[in-house]
Amino acid sequence: MFSGWLTTIVFLPLAGAIIIALFVRGDKNVRWFAGIISLAELVLSIAVFAQYDLGAGADQFQLVDKIEDWIPVESFKVQYFLAIDGLSAPMVLLTGILGMVSVFASWSVKERLPEYFMWLLILQSAVMGVFTSMDFFLFFIFWELELIPMFFLISIWGSKPNREYSAMKFLIFTFLGSAFMLVGILVLFFSFDTFDMTLLPDAISRGGILLPASLVFTMIFIAFAVKLPIWPLHSWLPDAHTDAPTAASVMLAGVLLKMGAYGMLRISATMFPEVMAGIAWLLASVGVINILYGAAIVLRQTDLKRLIAFSSISHMGFVVLGLSAVVGVNGQVSTVGITGAALQMFTHGTITGLLFLLAGFIYERTHTRHIPHLGGLATRMPMLTGALVLAGLASLGLPSTSGFVSEIHVFLGVFPVWSWLTAVGAFGVVLTAGYILWMIQRAMFGPENQHLNNVSDATVMEMVPVAVMVAAIMVVGIYPAIIADVFTTGIQPIVDSLQIAVTASLQ
């Protein structure tokens, strides 16, 4: 089976990076070449998303690209296996959108341009690979492949003086998490003799795993928890975000964090439903801690990017809270909460991506991220201000924006299960409204700052990615089914296996 779509979408950016390294000369050519690649990637991701067949009776895994004898050695049976299901199709779309946005957001980068776009494109390949791999080993390869581009993007093009420290912190945290995951993957392989992620859930449910399932679960879960990040493993995130260049922040917030959430759904919940249901209380608790802790820290941030970074921690808490619905109520597991978690991955990707993009644009113009030094920018940059207001409103969950859709799903799904915790967590929405509106007010409105007299509004080139993101936010906000229905087809099988596990545990 080889449809070729996913192979193309995964390796196109990588091929582009190699071509840039070898053939493309001149900054302008490099920029346009990268732009064209990323646009092609966006078109491909829309095409892949549109091709996903929602119909009843459709295969769960579609657009399969499979080479079974890549490394057919005994004790190392690795296949090349790409496919999408309802869970990964929207993530492919999200990566396509943010990949394009991050390339166009880098139009004004001047230093070491060919290298810069190379790393950015390789990063996109790696993330695409994570979301489409259905072989656990291949998944891990892409998971690790993303480290080096991000390390370089932060440490070379980040903001001084802490960029090297932040890049190394990011790398060590993530690498340490994945170190444990690898051992977990190997235990699964030697228990069941396969790396195939479509076969492993069944195999695990039949038993015969070499180590206790909860231990293997923990080893794998740590990697996702660091990536998401779950409190108290979050401390790399504010540093990395603050010092990363705009495009890297967009990718980091938009898709890299989602790799953690995606892993929890694709691997933790699908392969270990019993353990996942068993720790649902823990998920709910840390989810709420994430929401409130992130929001509380945001309140005292004066650095624009650091503020958005901590708000990411808060918002990713909703994903964890949504996942805690896995245990169900009265033995009935519903799809609502988990769909909410999945939706939150997508919507947070677009909303926070847009926020980082706008923060980057503002920083380029004013050369400061310190909010008290901004102020009164609305009259000088009306378009950017409009976009920031919209992104902020989406971030605090205003109805008709995508942020509302995902948060309401999470609350509806989790409230019946963990009523008190959800009620406490809902307080985070209030805090969010507080800090977002306060941030916009201080940064964009209020008295004009004299030294910011000659800042200009966004150029047409810069409005392209902004417009794409705004469109993504509004479309999902007004017609959520376009994404939610796809997610539901991917989540239904997970919920089915959770249901079996929960029913079994009640008996």
């Binding site: 890549w70 057919p72 050695v73 390869i141 390390f151 190394m168 060590i172 690498f175 690898l182 030697f190």
Partner: protein, 501 residues
């Protein structure tokens, strides 16, 4: 000694012959670059003979061809295991010679002798891969160690002399320890032939023996200590950093790759053939597991603080000895349904991956430090601009040494940790992976210095053609086997069949 014996020994004989030829050629030619060409082309002979032997083995469908030398005991065999190491050793030697072509111009004379000593050491290592008898092992080890001691002292400045002397003395001590261990084992079993030791041990461990088998285990531990020196495992590692720093850089590369490969060849042979008894193998597996964990942790932690790149790579090689010993600890008899050859084949795969990667790293280091006359990591600042290609290769090989895809370092690391998981040593796999994270810190420091710092000097750093060739071959190998390791793994697996059958 029959012609058949000579045929079986022909790779080693041609290797030693090439060494003598080089000394003679050195006397008559005035352009010393001819020596490099002669040496590299000459290496095609032992390689070709090894390939012939490989196909001969396959044709006969035999696992081994034994040389008898007119004596009653078998001391030398040719099998796929030994041939795998001969390929690896000849390849590594060729790359070391290519990489040293420019470096030798630092010496006033003795160019031919420099290459000849490398080749003599290689012939000793090739013998080592083929021997199946304790005395022959000892003699081959000495044949390996003495030329290396001379090579380490080749620069004749104080550091290099110190390196040579240190290697010589510590190597002598370790040989003594090894001999003592061998004597104990001989005392219990009455034989020096590995296969016979195994049969004798079977009876000994079942029945009564002096000191209840503990004395025997003591002998085994002394053997481990002796070999531990050769592969620079903790706690026998103290020579490595000083010798690595003081020796001429190509010799350092040779030590870290070829010497280590030969050491692991003989360890695998001794422990899988002679001490394969089930009870004993679980015992030595435990010893290797602990040594592995300690080696990698010590090597990585100390490497963090190094400022000299050769010394840093010296400590990193201790860490890699630790990763390799994971494969030794992964003995299949620990668990009932484990893959019988996963441990030893992991060692072979990792060794070849490490050889390719480390030679890439050393070639790039030799090329750069030769032109800037410094081994300090800080002096590599801004090398990405001064020598983009070399810096790229060095960076890529650092990534491979960490074990990040798409490199052979990643594939081999996962394979060998897989062996640990398969044999119920999950804790060792976890230790290994955590160590990879620690190692990322100092390997990436080199990358950071090259790509992030401003260059001290703007002059571009070039390299000669043989150097470029060595760098390109190793770089291509690192990338190719990182994406498609199947042929290398299959080769390693077919090579170790003879150990467990």
């Amino acid at each position: 000694m029959t012609t058949h014996d000579i045929y079986l020994l022909s790779p080693e004989i041609s290797m030693a012959g090439l060494a003598i030829l080089l000394i003679l050629v050195d006397l008559v030619v005035s352009r010393k670059s001819i020596l490099t060409i002669v040496a590299v082309l000459g290496l095609a002979v032992p390689l070709a003979l090894s390939i012939v032997l490989w196909f001969d083995l396959t044709d006969q469908a035999a696992t081994q061809m034994k040389a008898d030398f007119g004596t009653e005991i078998v001391t030398f065999v040719v099998d796929k295991f030994s041939l795998f190491f001969k390929f690896l050793l000849v390849g590594a030697t060729a790359l070391v010679i290519l990489a040293s072509s420019e470096y030798v111009s630092k010496f006033k004379n003795f160019h031919g002798e420099f290459f000849a000593l490398i080749l003599f050491a290689t012939s000793g290592m090739m013998l080592l891969a083929s021997t199946v008898e304790l005395i022959t092992i000892y003699v081959s080890l000495e044949l390996t160690a003495l030329p290396i001691a001379a090579l380490a002292a080749f620069m004749r400045d104080s550091r290099s002399s110190e390196a040579g002397l240190k290697f010589l003395i510590l190597s002598a001590i370790s040989s003594a320890v090894l001999l003592y261990g061998m004597v104990i084992i001989y005392g219990f079993t009455g034989t020096t032939v590995l296969a016979d030791i195994a049969t004798q041990l079977g009876g000994l461990l079942d029945g009564e023996s002096a000191f209840g088998g503990n004395a025997l285990l003591f002998g085994v531990i002394l053997v481990i200590a002796g070999f531990g020196f050769k592969i620079s495992s903790v706690p026998f590692q103290m020579w490595a950093p000083d010798v690595y720093e003081g020796s001429p850089t190509p010799v350092t590369a040779f030590l870290s790759v070829a010497s280590k490969a030969a050491g692991f060849a003989v360890i695998l042979r001794v422990f899988y053939i002679a001490f394969s008894a089930e009870i004993l193998s679980v015992d030595w597996s435990a010893v290797f597991a602990v040594l592995a964990a300690v080696s990698m942790t010590f090597g990585n932690l100390v490497a963090i603080r190094q400022n000299n790149i050769k010394r840093m790579l010296g400590y990193s090689t201790i860490a890699h000895a630790g990763y390799l010993m994971v494969g030794l600890a992964a003995v299949a008899s620990r668990t009932p349904d484990a893959d019988a050859i996963i441990g030893p084949s992991g060692v072979l795969f990792y060794l070849s991956g490490y050889a390719i990667t480390n030679l890439a790293a050393f070639s790039a280091v030799i090329a750069i430090s030769n032109r800037i006359n410094s081994d300090l990591i800080d002096s590599f600042a801004g090398m990405a601009r001064r020598a983009p290609f070399l810096a790229g290769v060095l960076g890529f090989s650092m990534i491979s040494l960490i074990g990040v895809p798409p490199t052979v370092g990643f594939m081999s690391k996962i394979y060998i940790f897989g062996a640990a998981v398969d044999t119920n040593l999950e804790w060792l796999a976890v230790t290994g992976m955590v160590n990879s994270v620690i190692s990322a810190y100092y390997y990436l420091r080199v990358v950071k210095v090259m790509y992030l710092r401003e260059p001290i000097d703007d002059a571009p750093v070039g390299s000669a053609l043989p150097m470029k060739l060595a760098v390109m071959v190793t770089m291509a190998g690192t990338a190719f086997f990182g994406i498609y390791p199947t042929p290398l793994i299959n080769l390693a697996r077919s090579a170790v069949d003879v150990l467990v059958s």
